[in-house]
Amino acid sequence: MIEHSLGEFEELVLLMVAAHHDEAYGVLILENLEEKLGKKINISAIHVALKRMENKGFVKSRFGGITNERGGRRKKFYAITALGKRVLDNQYALRTSIYQQIPKISFS
């Protein structure tokens, strides 16, 4: 059974995939995440998340063309699926609704 749960790191990767629609691939996601989060991430973590989400059906992938870059290896581009988008929306809605319940307290 493929569960519809989404881990924290997975959510970040999924967001990144959605943000760079159909142009997202491993290294791009890695660099953008590192920039946003301000910390070093191992590429393998990205791949693990991507493969998991692909199995869950949140993202789909296609190979790019052969170039002379990357030792002649093709890039694999990821795009978010409808299911992925819905999960992301649900997650966002859930968080926002809970967030809005926070009383207006001054933290000063």
Partner: protein, 873 residues
């Protein structure tokens, strides 16, 4: 140039990573690496390796089992299928290979079983490693003579004086009792049985299984006896509750009433000694004390169990002069030079290493074991060569297959694997057929070899069969695999055979090799056969025809003389007499002959044959001078006859009438007998003398030729009348004589089969090759015929090549076989000369067989109508 990521890490990644992920991952990793490389090379490398290691986790590792083996299985199935299709398509060469390999394997298996049986003789004993027998080298005029006989007190003295020895026992073995079985009786039941006399410690040395025993020791007193379970069943129909029962034993050397103290399991077939009864050695020691308790005499065997870790060399040195020392202490130096030296031989070794020359171990049964092992290997090689030749010769048919496979990307290794697999499958099939053949032939084989081998599938046998099959398969597949996998795809696809010049030579060389082996075997068979024929027809110096013998035993109520007279009067009996020995190796011996002119240090061993009146005449032993014994002419007690060899050895001239001293008594020489053979042809006729005694133990009867059957019945009736309880056991002299050469006859019978098989298999191979060549040159033949070549011309063309090969084989094999057979014949003191025609006839025979084989094929091809073979292109 782009920097390349760490080589080893990358290879590791490629090895474990899933195929559908690898491209993406490798690409991403490389990209990261390249970017980082600009900042720090070392860090980039470290990072890359670390990342690779992080991928080593479930989900990214490919499943090795399925993905890897599906390919192997697929290739395997593919190869299997191709092999079967090839078998089906080329039935001719398939059957040639099958027959060749399976006969080769069957022979190898049979020989393996035989060798295995021989090698394991006596090895089953529990203390095998530490079990030794003392042997003795007795000095004689012709050099030391090795015997089993040792002084009767040796065992008990050795155990007292040598701390290395754990147990020791003297034993009088059944062969010592003049090879005659005694008779055992209980009431009216009588059986013949083989006996041994042993000491109590014997049971600690030999691990015979004692099934039942009394509470007491096994041999508590002189009259104790142990019997085998088989004998017990025959006597009492049971093995239990017979301890304490009394049996009566009668034998020429000793007899009496004995009580049973134990039952042992009869020694298995792979024991070299066989016996039904074990008596107490003390009995004989007391009875024959003069002989047995004196260090000047030898008789019983001595068996030892040495302590674990004993240095046998050192012990050997210690006992070498043991007997001499004892003798010297007892008698002094008189005749000391005739006292033998002692040495040890492992008990289980003496079956195979049973032949001594000049006191040194030399051959024995091990020779035949080695010989047949070599033959087995050669037969296998011949079969394997057929396979090699046929499969390389047929390579042209498979050239396109090999070419295409190579173009598609098959590696040389894969092709080698395919061809090796093919040969493996072939040998595996053949070995199954071979096992079937062995199962069918085993009874026949047992009859020839005189063994009781069974085809039991023990772990050892199965693994040996597998090993033989595997090695044969590898061997026969090796050359085709190497050769076929080397072909270059371009030329093979063009249809050109790119033989480098060496290939046909190798194939021809293999054929020559096959024929060399076959020829050597054929020549050997011829020579062995001739030698045996020679032995059997040679004038022995006596006439062995129509003479039967039986042992005087049991109650002869009428007395010896009346018994003999009655026997002589039976119709059909020409003559009857008695003999103390036999003519196939059993004779007494002594050096105690003193003659006129004997030098003080001269010693000649004389054979001592005891004969009754008329025996010399009956055996037709020719007298060169003087006369034979006669009842009318003087007392036989003071007379003696020598053979020519003895007279020559003593250097007597005009011997008739002279007197000599035998054992201190004067004897008159009344005659000289022409040399006759009284033992096997391995030995020269030795000096011997004949004494006359009436009524000896072996009764010999000469029967009128042509009346054997009815006379035998009459003699049997007569015998039964006098010995009611005893079975009538008789032998013919020529049967005894044949038995003397049982080993040679086995070798001759077996080598006949093996030579036949060798030539058959070789010819099969030749047949296959000819068939193949003819097929390939079919078009050429067609054109030749169109242009007017005659059938004969074509036959010549095709068989010329093969004739040359066989001729080369003959040229190589004949000198070799000459050497081999000459070596074998050296064993015989009396032997045939190697005549040229043995070799020539063997050569011609092989050439003819080869021609017939080639001819059948070539004639068929030569007759073919040119239109047949030229019509299609």
């Amino acid at each position: 140039m782009k920097p390349s990521p760490p080589h080893r890490a990358l290879r590791f990644l490629r090895w474990f990573c899933r195929e559908d992920y690898i491209e993406e991952i490798e690409g991403d990793l490389t990209e990261v690496f390249e970017k980082q490389y600009e900042q720090s090379q070392a860090k980039a490398r470290r990072k890359f390796t670390w990342s690779v290691i992080r991928y080593f986790r479930p989900g990214f590792i490919k499943s090795f089992n399925t993905s890897y083996s599906t390919n192997t299985i697929a290739m395997f199935r593919h190869n299997f299928l191709l092999t079967f299709r090839n078998f089906k398509r080329y039935k001719g060469s398939f059957f040639i290979n099958l027959i060749g390999l399976s006969t080769g394997l069957a022979c190898a298996l049979l020989i393996y079983l035989w060798v295995n049986d021989e090698v394991h003789m006596d090895k089953f004993l529990k203390n095998d490693e530490r079990l030794y027998q003392v042997k003795q080298n007795i000095p004689t005029a012709d050099g030391p003579l090795t015997t089993d006989g040792t002084p009767g007190l040796l065992a008990r003295t050795l155990i007292d004086e040598m701390p290395e020895i754990e147990y020791a026992s003297s034993a009088i073995t059944s062969s010592w009792f003049d090879a005659q079985n005694g008779v055992i009786s209980i009431g009216d039941t009588h059986f013949k049985a083989k006996a041994q006399m042993v000491e109590e410690d014997y049971f600690n040395i030999f691990s015979w299984n004692i099934i039942h025993r009394g509470k007491d020791r096994l041999l508590p007193d002189k009259y104790a006896v142990l019997i085998s379970d088989e004998l017990a069943t025959r006597l009492f129909q049971r093995t239990e509750n017979i301890i304490g029962k009394t049996i009566t034993w009668k034998h020429e050397d000793f007899e009496g009433e004995f009580h049973i103290t134990g039952v042992f399991e009869k020694p298995p077939a792979n024991s070299s000694t066989q016996f039904d009864l074990l008596f107490n050695y003390e009995f004989m020691l007391e009875k024959d004390a003069d002989n047995l308790e004196h260090w000047g005499n030898s008789g019983p065997c001595t068996y030892l169990l040495v302590k674990a870790g004993t240095n046998i060399e050192a012990l050997n040195d210690k006992i070498r002069d043991f007997r001499k020392t004892k003798y010297k202490a007892l008698v002094g130096t008189k005749y000391l030079e005739h006292i033998g030296t002692l040495f040890l031989q492992r008990y289980s070794d003496q079956y195979l290493y049973d032949h001594y020359e000049n006191g040194v171990q030399s051959g024995g049964r091990i020779m035949y074991v080695k010989l047949f092992s070599i033959i087995a290997v050669f037969l296998l090689i011949i079969g394997a060569i057929n396979f090699m030749n046929l499969s390389t010769a047929r390579a042209s048919r498979r050239m396109s297959e090999i070419g295409i496979k190579k173009t598609v990307g098959a590696s040389r290794k894969a092709l080698m694997f395919q061809f090796l697999g093919e040969s493996m499958l072939m040998t595996l099939l053949s070995s199954m057929v071979a096992i079937l053949i062995v199962a069918l032939l085993l009874p026949e084989f047992n009859a020839i070899t005189g063994k009781q081998i069974e085809l039991s599938f023990s772990k050892e046998v199965i693994s040996s069969i597998l090993a033989i099959t595997l090695i044969t398969g590898l061997f026969s597949g090796s050359y085709p695999a190497l050769f076929l996998s080397r072909l270059r795809p371009i030329s093979t696809l063009k249809g050109k055979m790119d033989f480098s010049t060496g290939e046909p030579w190798i194939r021809k060389g293999l054929v020559v090799f096959q024929f060399v082996i076959s020829l050597i075997l054929i020549v050997s068979v011829l020579v062995v056969y001739q030698q045996i024929e020679f032995i059997q027809t040679k004038n022995l110096g006596y006439n062995k025809d129509n003479i039967m013998s039986f042992v005087r035993e049991g109650q002869q109520d009428t007395g010896a003389e009346a018994f003999m007279n009655e026997l002589k009067n039976i119709p059909g009996v020409v003559q009857a007499s008695t003999f103390g020995h036999d003519l196939v190796g059993d004779y007494g011996g002594t050096g105690a002959v003193v003659w006129e002119g004997k030098k003080p240090d001269q010693r000649i061993n004389f054979g001592n044959l005891e004969m009754d009146y008329d025996l010399i005449e009956m055996l037709e032993i020719e007298m060169v001078a003087g006369r034979s014994f006669s009842k009318e002419l003087g007392s036989n007690r003071t007379q003696i006859i020598f053979n020519e060899a003895a007279i020559a050895a003593m250097g007597l001239e005009d011997p008739i009438g002279k007197t000599i001293k035998l054992w201190g008594q004067e004897r008159e020489i009344i005659g000289v007998a022409k040399n006759f053979h009284f033992e096997s042809f391995y030995e020269k006729v030795k000096p011997c003398f004949i004494q006359c005694y009436p009524d000896l133990q072996n009764i010999l009867v000469k029967i009128k030729a042509g009346m054997e059957k009815e006379t035998l019945t009459r003699i049997e009736d007569f015998y039964q009348k006098h010995n009611k309880e005893l079975p009538f056991d008789y032998r013919f002299l020529d049967e005894d004589y044949q038995a003397l050469y049982a080993a040679e006859q086995r070798v001759s019978a077996l080598s006949k089969y093996f030579a036949g098989i060798a030539i058959l298999v070789s010819c099969l191979g030749l047949f296959g090759l000819v068939a193949f060549t003819a097929e390939r040159r079919l078009k050429e033949i067609g054109i030749r015929k169109v242009l007017g070549s005659s059938e004969l011309g074509i036959i010549k063309l095709l068989s010329g090549d093969f004739t040359r090969m066989v001729l080369v084989a003959i040229a190589i094999a004949l000198p070799l076989s000459y050497l081999v057979t000459r070596e074998w014949l050296k064993n015989f003191a009396y032997r045939i000369d190697l005549a040229w025609w043995f070799f020539i006839s063997a050569g011609i025979m092989v050439l003819l067989i080869a021609w017939v084989t080639v001819g059948i094929q070539t004639i068929k091809v030569a007759r073919i109508s040119p239109t047949e073979c030229l019509k299609d292109e």
